[in-house]
Symmetry: C2
Subunit: 175 residues, 2 copies
């Protein structure tokens, strides 16, 4: 299986990906003209996106329609909906979906959140690579990237890079 399931996500130093009200304005402090922190390079390695239904709705509510371009998108939901273009609403077992995708040829698979979907993937040890950007702030409360229990897992640091705005990007692969 050479097709990898990847995270590419930002968190505060204290491990939050959003405040309790889903506010992600803490990301604004690292915005810099012409700096995308490797996102376009990363997304070009990906042809399939998995995300939770709540995150999907949030992305839509932000008016972002074509965030994922022409990529295949799977929205993990308990409530089936009809497919919409390249977007499939998947209400089966997440593990089955991921294993099935990994067994098909293709580029990497990107899980774009949310915390609940990521935690299910961690519980099943399905995440192969993680790029975590640490934002220089302590939020003190909010939605944790790692808020649920899952089995211990060793990682290998592939790269660490710091940026002008104080963001540190950590890139790990599963051992």
């Amino acid at each position: 299986m050479n097709r990898k399931l990847c995270l590419f996500i930002a968190m505060s130093l204290d491990g939050f990906i959003a405040k309790t009200d889903d506010d992600i304005s803490f990301l604004n402090q690292v915005e810099l003209e012409g700096e995308d922190y490797g996102y376009s390079e990363f997304i070009n390695t990906v042809d399939t996106v998995i995300l939770g239904r709540k995150t999907y709705d949030k992305v839509l509510s932000m008016g972002v329609e074509s965030l994922y371009g022409s990529r295949q998108v799977f929205v993990i939901t308990r409530t089936p909906r009809p497919d919409s273009g390249k977007t499939v609403f998947f209400s089966g077992k997440l593990t089955d979906l991921v294993l099935s995708l990994k067994n098909q040829p293709g580029q990497n698979i990107y899980c774009d959140g949310g915390a609940e979907t990521i935690s299910h993937l961690l519980q099943e040890n399905l995440i192969d690579e993680m790029t975590v950007s640490v934002i220089p702030v302590l939020l003190g409360d909010g939605i944790r990237l790692f808020g649920y229990k899952f089995p211990e897992q060793k990682l290998q640091l592939v790269k660490s890079q710091s940026f002008e705005k104080g963001l540190v990007q950590l890139h790990y692969v599963k051992i």
Copy 2:
């Protein structure tokens, strides 16, 4: 006030400083002959140590008697005990202790944990510098470095450094 209150602490990528049973064996994976990850340089900037009673007892139980050398040590406890050499058992208000120390001349002050004491300091916005070493592991459960609510606080990244064993050390100052 030039005397700073500093953290120098390691956590897993998912933000744990120990497993639920206080097990810190995840630190072993970054042990390397002759590499102290800047600890001796750091501790030489410090003449006073603050730590919680549970952490103090744990340090003692590990047979470490002179971890802090000749430094002044304050153990934060609800139960007063007689002083022991340079170790003072402090059962007053932590904020008062820290403000009083900061107003006295001296080197920096090191808070060596635990999570409860650190959280009290964060709640009062008393921590001036943080050196956080991120260990390349997901523990999945345990004692969180940032497990309690506290007010949001922006940080400035001073330095980020990665090491052979995959540890990434992040050094922040309070803005």
